[in-house]
Protein backbone atom coordinates (compact mmCIF):
# COMPACT_ATOMS: atom_id res chain seq x y z
CA UNK A 1 0.00 0.00 0.00
CA UNK A 2 1.22 3.47 -0.91
CA UNK A 3 2.08 5.87 1.91
CA UNK A 4 0.62 9.35 1.97
CA UNK A 5 3.32 11.78 0.86
CA UNK A 6 4.36 14.73 2.98
CA UNK A 7 3.59 18.22 1.66
CA UNK A 8 7.30 18.99 1.68
CA UNK A 9 7.74 16.58 -1.20
CA UNK A 10 5.80 18.97 -3.41
CA UNK A 11 7.77 22.10 -2.59
CA UNK A 12 10.04 21.60 -5.59
CA UNK A 13 7.08 22.03 -7.87
CA UNK A 14 6.16 25.45 -6.47
CA UNK A 15 6.42 28.46 -8.74
CA UNK A 16 5.76 32.19 -8.26
CA UNK A 17 2.23 33.18 -9.24
CA UNK A 18 3.57 36.24 -11.03
CA UNK A 19 6.77 35.86 -13.04
CA UNK A 20 9.22 38.50 -14.20
CA UNK A 21 7.64 38.20 -17.65
CA UNK A 22 4.22 39.20 -16.28
CA UNK A 23 5.74 42.18 -14.51
CA UNK A 24 7.47 43.33 -17.69
CA UNK A 25 4.24 43.09 -19.68
CA UNK A 26 2.50 45.27 -17.08
CA UNK A 27 5.30 47.88 -17.14
CA UNK A 28 5.31 48.00 -20.97
CA UNK A 29 1.52 48.38 -21.03
CA UNK A 30 1.58 51.27 -18.52
CA UNK A 31 4.40 52.91 -20.48
CA UNK A 32 2.35 52.57 -23.65
CA UNK A 33 -0.68 54.25 -22.01
CA UNK A 34 1.42 57.15 -20.70
CA UNK A 35 2.94 57.67 -24.17
CA UNK A 36 -0.54 57.87 -25.71
CA UNK A 37 -1.66 60.38 -23.04
CA UNK A 38 1.45 62.52 -23.67
CA UNK A 39 0.85 62.45 -27.41
CA UNK A 40 -2.78 63.53 -26.92
CA UNK A 41 -1.64 66.26 -24.47
CA UNK A 42 -4.05 64.99 -21.82
CA UNK A 43 -3.58 66.64 -18.45
CA UNK A 44 -5.30 64.48 -15.86
CA UNK A 45 -4.88 67.06 -13.11
CA UNK A 46 -7.23 69.50 -14.93
CA UNK A 47 -9.94 66.91 -14.79
CA UNK A 48 -9.91 67.02 -11.01
CA UNK A 49 -9.04 70.74 -10.50
CA UNK A 50 -11.23 72.70 -12.99
CA UNK A 51 -13.59 69.94 -14.15
CA UNK A 52 -15.97 69.84 -11.16
CA UNK A 53 -16.42 73.63 -11.16
CA UNK A 54 -17.63 73.79 -14.80
CA UNK A 55 -19.59 70.59 -14.48
CA UNK A 56 -21.69 71.89 -11.57
CA UNK A 57 -22.12 75.25 -13.36
CA UNK A 58 -23.70 73.61 -16.47
CA UNK A 59 -25.71 71.27 -14.24
CA UNK A 60 -27.11 74.33 -12.44
CA UNK A 61 -28.11 75.95 -15.73
CA UNK A 62 -29.81 72.76 -16.89
CA UNK A 63 -32.17 72.51 -13.93
CA UNK A 64 -35.11 72.40 -13.68
CA UNK A 65 -35.86 70.73 -17.04
CA UNK A 66 -38.18 72.75 -19.29
CA UNK A 67 -41.02 70.51 -20.54
CA UNK A 68 -43.10 73.43 -21.92
CA UNK A 69 -42.89 71.96 -25.45
CA UNK A 70 -43.47 68.39 -24.28
CA UNK A 71 -45.78 67.33 -27.13
CA UNK A 72 -43.38 68.77 -29.72
CA UNK A 73 -40.48 66.88 -28.18
CA UNK A 74 -42.44 63.62 -28.06
CA UNK A 75 -43.35 64.11 -31.71
CA UNK A 76 -39.65 64.58 -32.56
CA UNK A 77 -38.76 61.48 -30.56
CA UNK A 78 -41.36 59.46 -32.50
CA UNK A 79 -39.83 60.83 -35.73
CA UNK A 80 -36.43 59.58 -34.54
CA UNK A 81 -37.83 56.11 -33.81
CA UNK A 82 -39.50 56.02 -37.24
CA UNK A 83 -36.21 56.99 -38.84
CA UNK A 84 -34.47 54.13 -37.01
CA UNK A 85 -37.14 51.62 -38.04
CA UNK A 86 -36.87 52.58 -41.72
CA UNK A 87 -33.08 52.54 -41.53
CA UNK A 88 -33.11 49.08 -39.96
CA UNK A 89 -35.51 47.68 -42.58
CA UNK A 90 -33.26 49.11 -45.31
CA UNK A 91 -30.22 47.55 -43.62
CA UNK A 92 -31.93 44.15 -43.43
CA UNK A 93 -32.86 44.17 -47.13
CA UNK A 94 -29.38 45.25 -48.18
CA UNK A 95 -27.54 42.89 -45.87
CA UNK A 96 -29.27 39.62 -46.86
CA UNK A 97 -27.56 39.33 -50.29
CA UNK A 98 -24.29 40.73 -48.95
CA UNK A 99 -24.39 38.34 -45.98
CA UNK A 100 -24.99 35.31 -48.22
CA UNK A 101 -22.29 36.31 -50.70
CA UNK A 102 -19.72 37.05 -48.02
CA UNK A 103 -20.08 33.72 -46.18
CA UNK A 104 -17.14 31.50 -47.13
CA UNK A 105 -19.13 28.26 -47.17
CA UNK A 106 -21.85 29.32 -49.63
CA UNK A 107 -20.37 32.13 -51.73
CA UNK A 108 -20.33 31.15 -55.44
CA UNK A 109 -16.63 31.93 -55.86
CA UNK A 110 -13.72 33.73 -54.24
CA UNK A 111 -14.01 36.84 -56.46
CA UNK A 112 -17.64 37.47 -55.45
CA UNK A 113 -16.72 36.75 -51.82
CA UNK A 114 -13.96 39.37 -51.98
CA UNK A 115 -16.21 42.02 -53.59
CA UNK A 116 -19.04 41.37 -51.09
CA UNK A 117 -16.64 41.48 -48.11
CA UNK A 118 -15.12 44.71 -49.47
CA UNK A 119 -18.50 46.49 -49.49
CA UNK A 120 -19.43 45.07 -46.09
CA UNK A 121 -16.19 46.32 -44.52
CA UNK A 122 -16.31 49.64 -46.41
CA UNK A 123 -19.80 50.62 -45.21
CA UNK A 124 -19.10 49.41 -41.69
CA UNK A 125 -15.95 51.51 -41.58
CA UNK A 126 -17.67 54.83 -42.38
CA UNK A 127 -19.55 56.04 -39.27
CA UNK A 128 -23.20 56.94 -39.87
CA UNK A 129 -22.47 60.40 -38.51
CA UNK A 130 -20.07 61.14 -41.38
CA UNK A 131 -22.36 59.41 -43.87
CA UNK A 132 -25.29 61.56 -42.71
CA UNK A 133 -23.20 64.75 -43.05
CA UNK A 134 -22.39 63.85 -46.65
CA UNK A 135 -26.00 62.88 -47.41
CA UNK A 136 -27.39 66.09 -45.87
CA UNK A 137 -25.21 68.04 -48.32
CA UNK A 138 -26.24 65.75 -51.18
CA UNK A 139 -30.01 65.47 -50.63
CA UNK A 140 -30.83 68.17 -48.09
CA UNK A 141 -32.12 68.31 -44.51
CA UNK A 142 -34.79 65.98 -43.10
CA UNK A 143 -35.26 62.33 -42.23
CA UNK A 144 -34.12 60.88 -45.57
CA UNK A 145 -30.35 61.35 -45.10
CA UNK A 146 -30.71 59.89 -41.59
CA UNK A 147 -32.56 56.81 -42.82
CA UNK A 148 -30.02 56.22 -45.60
CA UNK A 149 -27.03 56.77 -43.32
CA UNK A 150 -28.37 54.31 -40.74
CA UNK A 151 -29.41 51.76 -43.37
CA UNK A 152 -26.15 51.77 -45.29
CA UNK A 153 -23.88 51.80 -42.26
CA UNK A 154 -25.69 49.08 -40.30
CA UNK A 155 -25.96 46.97 -43.45
CA UNK A 156 -22.22 46.45 -42.96
CA UNK A 157 -22.83 45.18 -39.43
CA UNK A 158 -25.78 42.94 -40.23
CA UNK A 159 -24.13 41.39 -43.29
CA UNK A 160 -21.10 40.56 -41.13
CA UNK A 161 -23.35 38.99 -38.46
CA UNK A 162 -25.28 36.96 -41.05
CA UNK A 163 -22.09 35.78 -42.78
CA UNK A 164 -20.58 34.65 -39.47
CA UNK A 165 -23.79 32.82 -38.52
CA UNK A 166 -23.89 31.08 -41.89
CA UNK A 167 -20.24 30.07 -41.58
CA UNK A 168 -20.96 28.40 -38.23
CA UNK A 169 -24.10 26.44 -39.11
CA UNK A 170 -24.32 22.67 -38.77
CA UNK A 171 -23.06 21.28 -42.08
CA UNK A 172 -24.93 17.96 -41.71
CA UNK A 173 -28.24 19.12 -43.23
CA UNK A 174 -26.36 20.72 -46.16
CA UNK A 175 -24.62 17.43 -46.81
CA UNK A 176 -27.91 15.53 -46.59
CA UNK A 177 -29.53 17.77 -49.21
CA UNK A 178 -26.43 17.73 -51.41
CA UNK A 179 -26.47 13.93 -51.39
CA UNK A 180 -30.04 13.90 -52.69
CA UNK A 181 -29.26 16.24 -55.59
CA UNK A 182 -30.68 19.56 -54.30
CA UNK A 183 -29.51 22.76 -56.02
CA UNK A 184 -27.46 25.42 -54.24
CA UNK A 185 -30.45 27.78 -53.93
CA UNK A 186 -32.59 24.97 -52.52
CA UNK A 187 -29.86 24.15 -50.01
CA UNK A 188 -29.75 27.82 -48.90
CA UNK A 189 -33.52 27.89 -48.52
CA UNK A 190 -33.87 24.54 -46.74
CA UNK A 191 -30.68 24.02 -44.77
CA UNK A 192 -29.07 27.45 -44.28
CA UNK A 193 -31.90 29.94 -43.63
CA UNK A 194 -33.85 27.83 -41.07
CA UNK A 195 -30.65 27.38 -39.05
CA UNK A 196 -29.86 31.10 -38.85
CA UNK A 197 -33.43 32.38 -38.30
CA UNK A 198 -33.18 32.75 -34.47
CA UNK A 199 -29.93 34.71 -34.61
CA UNK A 200 -31.22 36.63 -37.67
CA UNK A 201 -34.18 37.95 -35.68
CA UNK A 202 -32.05 38.65 -32.59
CA UNK A 203 -29.45 40.55 -34.62
CA UNK A 204 -32.11 42.63 -36.33
CA UNK A 205 -33.55 43.66 -32.98
CA UNK A 206 -30.11 44.52 -31.70
CA UNK A 207 -29.52 46.75 -34.74
CA UNK A 208 -32.94 48.41 -34.29
CA UNK A 209 -32.07 49.10 -30.67
CA UNK A 210 -28.71 50.55 -31.73
CA UNK A 211 -30.23 52.57 -34.59
CA UNK A 212 -32.69 54.30 -32.27
CA UNK A 213 -29.78 55.43 -30.10
CA UNK A 214 -27.79 56.54 -33.14
CA UNK A 215 -30.78 58.28 -34.77
CA UNK A 216 -30.94 60.71 -31.84
CA UNK A 217 -27.37 61.74 -32.68
CA UNK A 218 -27.98 62.10 -36.41
CA UNK A 219 -30.38 65.00 -35.89
CA UNK A 220 -27.39 67.04 -34.79
CA UNK A 221 -26.07 67.10 -38.36
CA UNK A 222 -29.49 68.07 -39.74
CA UNK A 223 -31.09 64.69 -40.26
CA UNK A 224 -34.28 65.57 -38.34
CA UNK A 225 -35.80 64.08 -35.19
CA UNK A 226 -35.02 64.76 -31.53
CA UNK A 227 -31.33 65.28 -32.25
CA UNK A 228 -32.18 68.35 -34.30
CA UNK A 229 -34.14 69.77 -31.34
CA UNK A 230 -31.18 69.03 -29.08
CA UNK A 231 -28.77 70.83 -31.37
CA UNK A 232 -31.10 73.85 -31.71
CA UNK A 233 -31.52 74.17 -27.94
CA UNK A 234 -27.75 73.98 -27.43
CA UNK A 235 -27.19 76.73 -29.97
CA UNK A 236 -29.79 78.95 -28.29
CA UNK A 237 -28.20 78.25 -24.85
CA UNK A 238 -31.58 76.85 -23.67
CA UNK A 239 -29.99 74.38 -21.29
CA UNK A 240 -33.22 73.65 -19.40
CA UNK A 241 -34.75 72.48 -22.69
CA UNK A 242 -31.60 70.45 -23.32
CA UNK A 243 -32.07 68.59 -20.04
CA UNK A 244 -35.74 67.92 -20.88
CA UNK A 245 -34.68 66.43 -24.24
CA UNK A 246 -31.99 64.30 -22.57
CA UNK A 247 -34.59 62.95 -20.11
CA UNK A 248 -36.97 62.06 -22.97
CA UNK A 249 -34.16 60.34 -24.90
CA UNK A 250 -33.08 58.45 -21.78
CA UNK A 251 -36.60 57.18 -20.99
CA UNK A 252 -37.20 56.16 -24.62
CA UNK A 253 -33.92 54.27 -24.86
CA UNK A 254 -34.54 52.61 -21.52
CA UNK A 255 -37.90 51.32 -22.76
CA UNK A 256 -36.54 50.24 -26.16
CA UNK A 257 -33.49 48.60 -24.60
CA UNK A 258 -35.59 46.51 -22.20
CA UNK A 259 -38.12 45.64 -24.90
CA UNK A 260 -35.36 44.59 -27.30
CA UNK A 261 -33.58 42.50 -24.63
CA UNK A 262 -36.87 40.83 -23.73
CA UNK A 263 -37.69 39.93 -27.35
CA UNK A 264 -34.13 38.68 -28.00
CA UNK A 265 -34.19 36.50 -24.88
CA UNK A 266 -37.51 35.00 -25.99
CA UNK A 267 -36.12 34.15 -29.42
CA UNK A 268 -33.02 32.43 -28.03
Amino acid sequence: MKKEKSLIAFEKYLRNQWSFKHLMILVIFLLFLSLISTDLKINYSNLFLDGPKYFFDILDRMTPPDFSNFSGLVFSMIETIEMAILGTVLAIFLSIPFGLLSARNITPNYFIFFIARFFVVFFRAIPEFIMAMILVIAIGFGAMPGVLALGIHTMGFLAKFYAEDIEHINKGPIEALKSSGASKRQIISFAVIPQIIPSFVANNFYILDRNIRMATMLGIVGAGGIGYELQSSFRMFEYQKVSAIIIIIFITILIIDNLSSYIRSKIK
Binding site: L177, G181, Q186, F190, P194
Partner: protein, 240 residues
Protein backbone atom coordinates in the same frame (compact mmCIF):
# COMPACT_ATOMS: atom_id res chain seq x y z
CA UNK B 1 -26.10 -2.89 -59.24
CA UNK B 2 -22.87 -1.34 -57.94
CA UNK B 3 -19.41 -2.28 -59.06
CA UNK B 4 -16.30 -0.74 -57.54
CA UNK B 5 -12.97 -1.23 -59.29
CA UNK B 6 -9.56 -0.43 -57.80
CA UNK B 7 -10.90 2.42 -55.68
CA UNK B 8 -8.27 4.51 -53.88
CA UNK B 9 -8.57 7.58 -51.69
CA UNK B 10 -5.90 9.53 -49.81
CA UNK B 11 -6.90 12.66 -47.91
CA UNK B 12 -4.87 15.90 -48.35
CA UNK B 13 -3.37 15.38 -44.87
CA UNK B 14 -1.83 12.10 -46.09
CA UNK B 15 -4.29 9.73 -44.40
CA UNK B 16 -4.89 6.71 -46.62
CA UNK B 17 -8.65 6.13 -46.25
CA UNK B 18 -9.03 3.50 -48.99
CA UNK B 19 -5.96 1.58 -50.12
CA UNK B 20 -7.60 -0.49 -52.85
CA UNK B 21 -11.12 -1.79 -52.96
CA UNK B 22 -12.86 -4.01 -55.52
CA UNK B 23 -16.49 -4.80 -54.80
CA UNK B 24 -19.83 -5.80 -56.30
CA UNK B 25 -23.24 -5.19 -54.74
CA UNK B 26 -26.30 -6.84 -56.25
CA UNK B 27 -29.87 -5.57 -56.62
CA UNK B 28 -32.03 -6.11 -53.52
CA UNK B 29 -29.17 -7.09 -51.21
CA UNK B 30 -28.77 -5.93 -47.62
CA UNK B 31 -25.02 -5.52 -47.39
CA UNK B 32 -23.20 -4.47 -44.26
CA UNK B 33 -19.78 -2.90 -44.34
CA UNK B 34 -18.26 -3.81 -41.03
CA UNK B 35 -15.14 -2.30 -39.59
CA UNK B 36 -13.66 -0.29 -36.73
CA UNK B 37 -13.57 3.51 -36.66
CA UNK B 38 -11.14 4.88 -39.23
CA UNK B 39 -11.24 1.72 -41.36
CA UNK B 40 -12.45 3.62 -44.45
CA UNK B 41 -16.08 2.50 -44.50
CA UNK B 42 -17.56 6.01 -44.37
CA UNK B 43 -15.27 7.20 -47.17
CA UNK B 44 -16.31 4.17 -49.23
CA UNK B 45 -20.00 4.92 -48.76
CA UNK B 46 -19.61 8.63 -49.44
CA UNK B 47 -17.65 7.90 -52.62
CA UNK B 48 -20.65 6.04 -54.04
CA UNK B 49 -22.93 9.08 -54.03
CA UNK B 50 -20.27 11.67 -54.78
CA UNK B 51 -19.98 13.26 -51.34
CA UNK B 52 -16.31 12.29 -51.45
CA UNK B 53 -14.14 12.58 -54.55
CA UNK B 54 -11.97 9.59 -55.41
CA UNK B 55 -8.28 9.59 -56.34
CA UNK B 56 -8.31 6.63 -58.67
CA UNK B 57 -10.48 3.70 -59.65
CA UNK B 58 -14.03 3.53 -60.96
CA UNK B 59 -17.49 3.15 -59.47
CA UNK B 60 -20.36 1.89 -61.64
CA UNK B 61 -24.06 2.29 -60.81
CA UNK B 62 -26.30 0.09 -62.97
CA UNK B 63 -23.37 -0.35 -65.38
CA UNK B 64 -23.00 3.43 -65.73
CA UNK B 65 -19.76 4.98 -64.51
CA UNK B 66 -20.19 7.57 -61.75
CA UNK B 67 -18.64 10.87 -62.85
CA UNK B 68 -19.60 14.55 -62.68
CA UNK B 69 -21.97 14.10 -65.61
CA UNK B 70 -23.86 11.08 -64.32
CA UNK B 71 -23.76 12.02 -60.62
CA UNK B 72 -26.96 14.16 -60.47
CA UNK B 73 -28.95 11.33 -62.03
CA UNK B 74 -27.42 8.77 -59.65
CA UNK B 75 -28.11 11.01 -56.63
CA UNK B 76 -31.78 11.01 -57.64
CA UNK B 77 -31.80 7.23 -57.38
CA UNK B 78 -29.88 7.12 -54.10
CA UNK B 79 -30.99 7.87 -50.56
CA UNK B 80 -28.61 8.44 -47.67
CA UNK B 81 -29.00 8.05 -43.92
CA UNK B 82 -26.49 9.69 -41.60
CA UNK B 83 -25.14 8.86 -38.15
CA UNK B 84 -26.12 12.29 -36.76
CA UNK B 85 -29.41 12.31 -38.72
CA UNK B 86 -28.51 15.64 -40.42
CA UNK B 87 -32.02 17.06 -40.07
CA UNK B 88 -32.76 20.78 -40.18
CA UNK B 89 -33.88 21.55 -36.63
CA UNK B 90 -35.95 24.68 -37.12
CA UNK B 91 -38.34 23.29 -39.71
CA UNK B 92 -41.18 20.78 -39.44
CA UNK B 93 -40.82 17.03 -39.82
CA UNK B 94 -42.73 17.01 -43.12
CA UNK B 95 -40.53 19.76 -44.56
CA UNK B 96 -37.47 17.71 -43.66
CA UNK B 97 -38.95 14.76 -45.51
CA UNK B 98 -39.90 16.97 -48.47
CA UNK B 99 -36.29 18.11 -48.69
CA UNK B 100 -35.59 14.62 -50.04
CA UNK B 101 -37.65 15.56 -53.09
CA UNK B 102 -35.92 18.84 -53.89
CA UNK B 103 -34.19 17.38 -56.95
CA UNK B 104 -37.57 16.80 -58.60
CA UNK B 105 -39.26 19.99 -57.37
CA UNK B 106 -39.64 23.41 -58.94
CA UNK B 107 -36.34 25.19 -58.26
CA UNK B 108 -38.17 28.47 -57.57
CA UNK B 109 -41.27 27.35 -55.65
CA UNK B 110 -39.37 24.91 -53.43
CA UNK B 111 -37.27 27.83 -52.14
CA UNK B 112 -40.48 29.03 -50.50
CA UNK B 113 -41.36 25.52 -49.26
CA UNK B 114 -44.12 25.17 -51.86
CA UNK B 115 -44.52 21.60 -53.13
CA UNK B 116 -47.04 19.74 -55.26
CA UNK B 117 -49.89 18.01 -53.49
CA UNK B 118 -48.65 14.64 -54.70
CA UNK B 119 -45.21 15.29 -53.22
CA UNK B 120 -46.75 16.13 -49.86
CA UNK B 121 -48.76 12.92 -49.98
CA UNK B 122 -45.59 10.97 -50.75
CA UNK B 123 -43.92 12.60 -47.74
CA UNK B 124 -46.84 11.65 -45.49
CA UNK B 125 -46.70 8.09 -46.83
CA UNK B 126 -42.97 7.91 -46.08
CA UNK B 127 -43.65 9.14 -42.56
CA UNK B 128 -46.33 6.50 -42.18
CA UNK B 129 -43.83 3.83 -43.27
CA UNK B 130 -41.46 4.89 -40.50
CA UNK B 131 -44.34 5.19 -38.00
CA UNK B 132 -44.23 8.94 -37.54
CA UNK B 133 -47.31 10.14 -39.39
CA UNK B 134 -48.68 11.74 -36.22
CA UNK B 135 -45.52 13.86 -35.92
CA UNK B 136 -45.64 15.24 -39.47
CA UNK B 137 -46.22 18.83 -38.38
CA UNK B 138 -44.09 18.77 -35.23
CA UNK B 139 -40.79 20.60 -35.24
CA UNK B 140 -37.82 18.30 -35.83
CA UNK B 141 -36.03 19.41 -32.68
CA UNK B 142 -38.96 18.19 -30.56
CA UNK B 143 -38.26 14.54 -31.46
CA UNK B 144 -36.17 11.90 -29.69
CA UNK B 145 -32.98 10.49 -31.27
CA UNK B 146 -34.74 7.37 -32.57
CA UNK B 147 -37.57 9.43 -34.01
CA UNK B 148 -35.12 11.81 -35.66
CA UNK B 149 -33.40 8.89 -37.37
CA UNK B 150 -36.80 7.67 -38.56
CA UNK B 151 -37.35 11.10 -40.15
CA UNK B 152 -33.91 10.73 -41.75
CA UNK B 153 -35.02 7.39 -43.19
CA UNK B 154 -38.32 8.87 -44.41
CA UNK B 155 -36.36 11.63 -46.15
CA UNK B 156 -34.19 9.01 -47.83
CA UNK B 157 -37.03 6.73 -49.00
CA UNK B 158 -39.51 9.43 -50.06
CA UNK B 159 -37.87 9.62 -53.48
CA UNK B 160 -38.23 5.85 -53.93
CA UNK B 161 -34.51 5.21 -54.31
CA UNK B 162 -33.00 2.09 -55.82
CA UNK B 163 -30.13 2.25 -53.35
CA UNK B 164 -30.05 3.27 -49.71
CA UNK B 165 -26.71 4.17 -48.16
CA UNK B 166 -26.77 4.11 -44.36
CA UNK B 167 -23.68 5.49 -42.64
CA UNK B 168 -23.63 4.19 -39.06
CA UNK B 169 -27.41 4.71 -38.72
CA UNK B 170 -27.57 3.49 -35.11
CA UNK B 171 -24.27 4.76 -33.71
CA UNK B 172 -25.99 7.66 -31.91
CA UNK B 173 -28.90 5.62 -30.55
CA UNK B 174 -29.60 3.49 -27.49
CA UNK B 175 -29.85 -0.34 -27.94
CA UNK B 176 -33.66 -0.44 -28.09
CA UNK B 177 -33.89 2.37 -30.65
CA UNK B 178 -31.00 0.77 -32.58
CA UNK B 179 -32.88 -2.51 -33.00
CA UNK B 180 -36.05 -0.67 -34.03
CA UNK B 181 -34.14 1.28 -36.70
CA UNK B 182 -32.41 -1.87 -38.01
CA UNK B 183 -35.81 -3.66 -38.13
CA UNK B 184 -37.16 -0.74 -40.13
CA UNK B 185 -34.27 -0.83 -42.59
CA UNK B 186 -34.75 -4.58 -43.09
CA UNK B 187 -38.48 -4.03 -43.63
CA UNK B 188 -37.74 -1.36 -46.26
CA UNK B 189 -35.26 -3.70 -47.93
CA UNK B 190 -37.76 -6.57 -48.16
CA UNK B 191 -40.93 -4.52 -48.80
CA UNK B 192 -39.68 -2.06 -51.41
CA UNK B 193 -36.79 -4.20 -52.76
CA UNK B 194 -34.40 -1.33 -52.08
CA UNK B 195 -30.73 -2.31 -52.04
CA UNK B 196 -29.18 -1.31 -48.74
CA UNK B 197 -25.51 -0.72 -48.02
CA UNK B 198 -25.12 -0.14 -44.31
CA UNK B 199 -21.98 0.84 -42.41
CA UNK B 200 -21.82 -0.66 -38.94
CA UNK B 201 -19.26 -1.36 -36.28
CA UNK B 202 -21.49 -3.68 -34.22
CA UNK B 203 -20.89 -7.35 -35.12
CA UNK B 204 -24.17 -8.60 -33.59
CA UNK B 205 -26.28 -6.21 -35.66
CA UNK B 206 -24.35 -7.05 -38.83
CA UNK B 207 -24.90 -10.79 -38.28
CA UNK B 208 -28.57 -10.36 -37.45
CA UNK B 209 -29.65 -8.16 -40.34
CA UNK B 210 -27.36 -8.56 -43.36
CA UNK B 211 -27.39 -10.88 -46.35
CA UNK B 212 -23.70 -10.29 -46.83
CA UNK B 213 -20.97 -8.73 -44.68
CA UNK B 214 -17.90 -6.99 -46.05
CA UNK B 215 -15.17 -6.66 -43.44
CA UNK B 216 -12.94 -3.68 -43.96
CA UNK B 217 -9.86 -2.44 -42.15
CA UNK B 218 -7.17 0.11 -42.99
CA UNK B 219 -8.75 0.70 -46.38
CA UNK B 220 -8.65 -2.95 -47.48
CA UNK B 221 -11.38 -5.57 -47.69
CA UNK B 222 -10.50 -8.26 -45.18
CA UNK B 223 -13.41 -10.56 -46.07
CA UNK B 224 -16.52 -10.49 -48.22
CA UNK B 225 -18.85 -13.33 -47.27
CA UNK B 226 -22.46 -14.33 -47.13
CA UNK B 227 -23.64 -13.94 -43.58
CA UNK B 228 -24.14 -17.67 -42.92
CA UNK B 229 -20.57 -18.54 -43.92
CA UNK B 230 -19.02 -16.18 -41.43
CA UNK B 231 -17.36 -17.36 -38.27
CA UNK B 232 -16.07 -15.50 -35.23
CA UNK B 233 -12.44 -15.75 -36.42
CA UNK B 234 -13.18 -13.80 -39.61
CA UNK B 235 -14.96 -11.15 -37.61
CA UNK B 236 -12.18 -10.85 -35.08
CA UNK B 237 -9.67 -10.27 -37.88
CA UNK B 238 -11.00 -6.81 -38.67
CA UNK B 239 -11.10 -5.62 -35.10
CA UNK B 240 -7.66 -6.89 -34.13
Amino acid sequence: MIEIKKLKKIFPNGVKAISEINLKIHQGEFVTILGPSGSGKTTLLRSINGLESIDSGQIFFQNKIIDNKSLPDIQKKTGMIFQEFNLVNNISVINNVLSGLLHSSSKFLSMFYIFEKNQKLEALKALDTVGLLSKAYSMSNELSGGQRQRVGIARAIVKKPLLLLADEPVASLDPVASLAIMDLLLEINKLFKITIVCNLHQMDLALKYSDRIIGINRGYIVFNKINKKLNQNSLKKIFN
